[in-house]
């Protein structure tokens, strides 16, 4: 394997991994805030992509369409939190998981009704033929994806460290009762967490769309995102990103070196290995003793 091929693979791995990372982030945020694992998160990614499709078909220029998509997605997240999550927040963990699964089913089915299983392509201004960067040939979409992940991470760090809402979210995820006593409107924080996570999911959808096309099954990558979150540790946002990138790179190299079958297995092998050896992942909090 030459340096050139290795670098190409690394790039492609990082870009796949960035998508995993972004979706893993969008899973981690409501989990940290309200301890609900949103099994419909994959569908929120898909929804984001379709929202973008609709807005683009109305003739919206890309620069306007992107923030509009994110806002609409955020609103959907808020709606979901209020209508689906809030009423059942007291129910056992189990019921919440199934409820979000049911929600995902509904979203996917609704999308199917309108657009069937057709694959649509989203034109993006940066998509185009591979650029030459030194000896490497680089797909510009990959660069945009990786760069977006970096920017998103930086923005989130600022958000959580510097803004009032961000600090409130951290407080709530640490100890909701204490946060309430400090005067933080916990319900508002929950809603915001879900809105934020839906927007981030939509971002993933926006970035994915030009690369692999829009179809109802986009949400399937939630499973990879879950694995990424496990690698990094469920409580850790940085872990989610690292986990996603690592997973993407490992997958890509495995596929190139050992073939497609092993490429499919490796994420789950890693998942099981981590859960058996160090379930809290690299940076997560140790799970309570069973």
């Amino acid at each position: 394997m030459t340096w050139r091929i290795a670098s190409q693979l690394a790039l492609s791995g990082l870009s796949v991994g960035s998508i995993y990372a972004i979706v893993a982030l969008s899973l981690a945020i409501p989990f940290k805030a309200s301890r609900v694992l949103n099994f419909a998160q994959g569908e929120l990614v898909t929804l984001g992509a379709y929202i973008a499709l609709v807005l683009t078909s109305y003739g919206l220029p890309y620069a306007v369409m992107v923030p509009a998509t994110l806002l609409i997605a955020a609103a959907s997240g808020l709606l979901i939190e209020r209508l689906v999550v809030r009423p059942i927040i007291g129910a056992p963990e189990f019921t919440l998981v199934i409820a979000t699964f049911a929600l995902g089913l509904i979203i996917r089915a609704l999308i199917r009704i309108h657009w069937q299983d057709n694959v649509f392509f989203l034109p993006a201004p940066y998509a185009g033929p591979a650029l030459a960067v030194g000896p490497l040939r680089v797909n510009p979409s990959y660069l945009v994806i990786i760069a977006s992940t970096g920017i998103l991470t930086a923005l989130l760090v600022l958000f959580f460290q510097r803004t009032k809402l961000g600090k409130a979210m951290r407080a709530v995820s640490f100890d909701p009762t204490a946060a309430r006593m400090m005067g933080i409107r916990v319900n508002t924080v929950f809603g915001s967490a879900w809105a934020l996570s839906a927007a981030i999911g939509a971002l993933a959808g926006l970035l994915l769309a030009p690369v692999i096309g829009i179809n109802p099954e986009l949400g399937h990558l939630i499973i990879k995102a879950l694995i990424a979150a496990v690698i990094g540790g469920f409580g850790s946002l940085g872990g989610a990103i690292f986990g996603g990138l690592l997973l993407g790179v490992l997958e890509t190299y495995t596929g190139a070196l050992f073939g497609a079958a092993l490429k499919e297995i490796i994420p789950f092998a890693i998942l099981i290995a981590i859960l058996l050896v160090r379930p809290q992942g690299l940076w997560g909090a140790t799970p309570a003793r069973v």
Binding site: F94, T95, I98, A102, I223, L226, I265
Partner: protein, 314 residues
Amino acid sequence: MRAHRIIIVIVAAFAVAVPILGSSYQIYLVELILINIVAAIGLNLLTGNCGQISLCHASLMAIGAYTTALLTTRFAITYALALPAGVFVTTLLGASLGYPARRLSGLYLALVTLGFLEVVSIAIEEFSDLTGGVRGLKLEKPELAGFPLHTAGLYYFVLAVAIIAIRAGLGLRHSRYGRAFDAVRQSVIVAQALAIPPGRTKLLAFSIAAAFAGLAGGLFTAVVGFIDPTEFDISASLRQITFIAVGGLGSVWGSVIGSVILTLLPEALRGADEYSDVLYGAILLAALVLAPTGIVGLFAPVFRRLGGGKAQLS
């Protein structure tokens, strides 16, 4: 008690009459319900009673199905032996999940079972020479002791197995093991204080669930005559979870009711075509929000008043 008994008699009479009065499609449908009942009872003992989340129940069913199918088609072993062999293999593999269950719970355990599910899926696709891969495996109707099982015969066989499964489920539920399961679910610390070994109990729960799943899978091969990996994916597992969530967690009759309703529901919704998934999801969501203790939980007070005495529906 009385009303309870009467309902059972009516249902039993109905069940027996199906192959006589029903169309072959209706017979097939009831057979699917019975298979789902068997799988659901196992899952409910594991999740509803013992509190262990499992996302891989469908893949355990797959292991039972493929084992039974391969033994009958490739190795010409009679179904009467292939079926129990399938159960045996599935039980062994399912028991392996007891190991991670010792130290993990909730989300983490769910993820391990998810990993197990995906690995089994990939394995089925990869070993396509053996399993037919994504194209699936076509099977002939089974023979029992040399006699081919035609429609009615197969139906009564499946019915008999389902009844045995219900009996076994009830027997376990009301035994010391059922109590140990419930104890481990509610508090491992208290269970330990009562000399109940949590690790071994979880192992038992996983093994039993696997046995029921393997049995359901073996029956599936006989009834459907064709198996492929998409039948046993994450959606299938989640569907089985909905059976027990809607029917009633921890209740054998809940497994029965949930299986009946949620197997019939997609059929009933078939007319709605593309809206059927939406309606299914919506009904499921509504059921979870409105009846978090399941249908059995909703009707428990009714039964208490009718029957008197029984504090819990089994």
